[in-house]
Subunit: 329 residues, 2 copies
């Protein structure tokens, strides 16, 4: 990948390159497990808590891998991004660290915590209506007006490679623990995190990688089953605000279609229940969308008996009301 | 320290020895921070989340450092411990890992989650009344009857040295971040965690270490001010169930009286409010007693302007009702 504007799918070496770029900038999140939970489930469940990453989700990785490579001459124009919230915060923070202006297009119904935090991180927030306006069009228009570089939320090789460092860390950390995972389960929205992670796992552990999604947004599951990108209906709704991309990305699916073992989907209540378990058993705060991989295991969507399973909890930027709702499950 | 029954205060080398003993058994908890929170506070706040440690608190460290050294011949008699909950879980888990039976004496008003988890970890739980019965007497009696080794919650050199590995990790991790802390603030109940940590910080960073306590259980603060161990009134109450030891330990205070810079105390509401901030900003679940060091900074109990401050969040074993109460602050 020579050009920052490349739309070539990244390969394993690009994920390794991203790890070098992120060294000293991204946080090495730990691997967590709970022995009582393991006994209850009859498996060894290893949790990669990206909610503990800078800005509260894995999105900082991809954003930084892209933004930190912008040449000096192009910096004054800044960057622009559209996001339901986590990418917004990742881009705003990465841009601020690199001294760039960031304009972020966010849906007006995004969790207040995400909007507030994006502003606090220095992002200039522009709100839009998720159900009547097209965020990609708004992004392209702003980009054309200002000359800013568009940092896409998932369909970008540098963003995908950056997110893939989650997978490299899983490989490194499970090796240090002396365990060989039987599978890795990763939340999928646009597919950036899971495609990068799948590249990393393919180049290291070689075990199956599954996508986890909200039941109403099971476009990856259906796309994997049919072999072509599927779209969810316009009236689909879920509390998993970080996973509402209606269809898999083009670049991400060119990777995911080849590398993923399948898709698992969970109800909103199952995601809420997993958030509660994350708080009480693992002592981490996970947002609804961040909890779907954990939820898929806890609600028995896949046979894990006797296996070692890694789930990524991808983010923790939930409003207080949503956390309280999860605790009441 | 040659004998496992020694009551000599440990020294820095004992903490280093504990780190070797715990290597591969205790989890290396990360250092967390939130850039928006830093900006709000006007300091750099680094959080050591021991709620993410095995069994949900730092207590596993001390328990394992003691129990893993029990000679083969003494193993069949097992171990006995008294605890409000976190030490119980640490001892039960360390004993199970080493193949020993563990009998745990717990107050009947301890959080249900702590009692349930201690049982789930394999501990044989014996309940007592915190306000009318003396747990040390019960412990000594059980020990005499069974020949089990008593694992004290704090006044034991091996337990103190084990907890001190938290301080060694703080020194190592802040060095890796390229920062030099101006102070370290640690919750204090019996004083085991803070005395071990103070030994570690004294042997490495050399910065001031402060004790944080519930206002009603400010025995360390008053003991440090008067130079002699003080006791809280019998009718003292706090929601910080893990910090209800009425007086500093004898061995722990022989270290703390010499090494600590002072004490800070917070109200129960300030602890609850810190729990909320821990959930929303740091994405970690902290119990009331585990949150007092964080609370002391958030509620302005010490001037942190422009400084780099490390706070230990010592545990996360709270009932769901307590978490919900914190979120409603």
């Amino acid at each position: 990948m020579n050009s920052l504007n490349s739309s070539e799918p990244p390969v394993f070496a690009d994920v390794e390159d991203a790890a070098r770029q992120l060294d000293g900038w991204a946080r090495l999140t730990p691997i967590l497990e709970n022995s009582v939970l393991n006994e209850t489930l009859g498996c060894r469940l290893l949790v990669k808590p990206e909610c503990l990453q800078r800005t509260g989700s894995f999105k900082f990785r991809g954003a930084f891998n892209k933004i930190s490579r912008i040449p000096e001459a192009d910096k004054p124009a800044g960057v622009v991004a559209y996001s339901s919230g986590n990418h917004a915060q990742g881009v705003a923070h990465a841009a601020a660290l690199m001294g760039l202006k960031a304009t972020i297009i966010m849906p007006e119904d995004a969790p207040k915590a995400k909007i507030d935090n994006t502003r606090a991180l220095g992002g200039n927030v522009v709100l839009y209506d998720r159900y009547t306006q097209n965020r990609e069009e708004i992004g392209l228009k702003l980009q054309a007006e200002t000359g800013a570089m568009l940092v896409k939320p998932y369909d970008d090789p540098f963003v995908i490679a950056g997110q893939g460092t989650v997978g490299l860390e899983i490989a490194m950390q499970t090796e240090a623990l002396g365990v060989m995972p039987d599978m890795v389960i990763v939340p999928a929205g646009g597919g950036g995190l899971i495609s990068g992670t799948a590249l990393a796992i393919d180049g290291t552990l070689g075990c199956p990688v599954y996508a986890a999604e909200p039941a109403a947004f099971d476009d990856h599951k259906r796309s994997l089953e049919s072999g072509a990108r599927q779209t969810v209906p316009d009236d689909a709704r879920s509390i998993c605000d970080s996973l509402l991309a209606p269809t898999p990305g083009e670049i991400t699916f060119s990777i995911n279609g080849r590398l993923l073992a399948g898709g698992l989907s969970v109800s909103d209540d199952e995601a809420l229940s997993a958030m509660k378990t994350a708080m009480t058993s693992l002592k981490i705060v996970v947002e609804p969308g961040g909890a779907v991989a954990l939820a898929s295991v806890l609600s028995g969507k896949i046979d894990v008996a006797g296996k070692t399973v890694v789930v990524v909890c991808s983010g923790g930027n939930a409003d207080v009301e949503m956390l309280a709702r999860a605790l009441s499950m």
